[in-house]
Amino acid sequence: MFSRVLIANRGEIALRVIRACKELGIETVAIFSEADRGSQYLDLADQAFCVGSAKSMDSYLRIDRVIAAAELGKADAIHPGYGFLAENAHFNEVCRSCNFEFIGPSPDAMEKLGDKNTAREMAIAAKVPVVPGSDGLIESEEDAINAARKIGFPVLIKATAGGGGKGMRVAADEASLQAAVVQAQTEAKAAFGNPGVYLEKYIDRPRHVEVQIIADQHGNVVHLHERDCSVQRRHQKLIEESPSPRLPEATRKAMCDAAVRMVRQANYYNAATVEFIVDQQDNFYFIEVNARIQVEHPVSEMVSGIDLIKTQILVAAGEKLSFTQQDIKPRGAAIECRINAEDPDRNFQPCPGKIQTMYLPGGYGVRVDSHAHAGYSVPPHYDSMIAKLIVHRATREEAIETMQRALSELRITGIKTTAAFHKTVLAQQEFVDGTVDTKWVERVLLPRLQSS
């Protein structure tokens, strides 16, 4: 077992890893930027080193300084957390070549599954459904029609050089297809300098459902069922829950089995999340793999009873999983709300600043993962999440009630947070009914709130 682990991250996930290490009897080495100097959670680590100035590029992303800190701190393993260097295969390799165990997958598996294209190919090879697509750029009008017929309308025309939702157009039928393709190509050339476009099936009102996987270095791969993360705004998750409401049992089983198949095929070990979208007919399609631990891992922990971070560390140290798939019997329902330092009344504008008072909820079924506290200054340089509020109850109805109670108890002054917005979401009929899709917040809820 490791004697000392360096956590190459900050904030709540750094605290989460420190806690797991403490319970495993492992010493911890933390790193921090100048902007995080003095953060109280750093006192819980055995050592802490400043790795640079506030900007991530000058600190948390500085591989040389992270490795130097691991060397100085005499760590034998490094946990990358999420974000920052967590899915950087080069960092993964550097850690290992400097004799620090990387608490995550092998660099090879990380690269293979982490790359959207190779992952898609692996999914197809593993007979996992993928979003039907043209599998290549559209070279001609005939190309477009043939591809669209194969995929089925409506189709989404996407720029190959694009991203973040830019350069996309929808064509509902053959009549509008040609014009839409030409428009998309023109826009793509203007925005990205590359007119290449491809087609994908347009999924109407998709739900985002992902499967948590944990695998050891001995070939054991176990899933911890799914999480539904459909409450999003601009592709950022706001609320996650398990189980996915209204997901047919057959679909759940097929998705979980598909996720295990893919991870096994990639010889992947440690934690991963396989993301799918589910359409209104409950068909599921593979999207991508996140080759790391995720923000919303507590949701799966509550329902499965498995401490994922501890398990990650044990797996990295060469231990076999202490449980089999048969041992995983999900219990109850869990919901997580990401409490961000943002003002929902001002278009979710980030609100960095000093927290004056902070009163946290508690009681049966409530878990808070947070590095923040009264007197803590939320820095403007990183993501705006200051706390994760997680509830776990026997039923989804009860979980919603408990989350409402917990959100009401939560008091943070000095900065604005999204707590009240979460209360509003939980009170909407669509959320209660479990019919939310990934665009629902923007398409339905925000206009509804604006007009009232």
Partner: protein
């Protein structure tokens, strides 16, 4: 890189040395053992006109371990300067009084994470010491990380007023290394 120290077994109590002679060989051997045991870098003894100073360098002498950090310590100013004795594991000395500093005082801080070396190699003199005059390209120390020894230029000119890091100390970004009087 700092080696972990091995504590030698405690020697059986010696027979009393002859009188109070600091140059008694048994006493000197005992002092050396004590230095190893307690990770002392230096002992400076004076007694009635006699003085002996033992500096631990080279093979066989334990190196000072990287101290355990709490973030607060990283901000504390100066541990005792190197020439003071005895030097045990660094303890945070009192921060210099604010009015002792002024706008002419500059603090050179570590630009990187690594091990601070005040001298080019264990047997040489320090790059600079209190009183040294420096220019911006004067190499004031080496900071080593991953077996790469980086010569750190002062990037300021003046006179060294205080040395704030000890040889082989673990330093991180922002750690104060030297106090410089820029008027000097």
């Amino acid at each position: 890189m700092a080696e972990s120290s091995k504590k030698p077994e405690r020697a059986a109590p010696e027979s009393t040395s002859k009188g109070d002679d600091v140059f008694n060989i048994e006493r000197i051997s005992r002092l050396i053992e004590l230095m190893k045991e307690h990770n002392l870098g230096e002992i400076d003894l004076r007694q009635e006109g006699q003085r002996i100073r033992l500096c631990g360098v080279g093979h066989g002498m334990p190196f000072v371990q990287a101290p355990m950090f709490a973030p607060g310590m990283m901000q504390a100013a100066a541990p005792a300067p190197l020439t003071a004795a005895p030097a045990a594991a660094p303890s945070a000395a009192a921060a210099p009084a604010a009015d002792a500093d002024g706008p002419h005082i500059a603090i050179i801080r570590s630009p990187m994470v690594g091990t601070f070396y005040s001298k080019p190699n264990p047997t040489s003199k320090d790059f600079v010491e209190v009183g040294s005059n420096i220019q911006s390209d004067t190499v004031i120390c080496i900071i080593e990380a991953m077996k790469v020894f980086n010569e750190i230029p002062a990037e300021t000119r003046g006179k060294v007023v205080q040395v704030l890091a000890r040889n082989e100390e673990a330093v991180d970004v922002g750690k104060p290394l030297f106090k410089i009087d820029t008027r000097g």
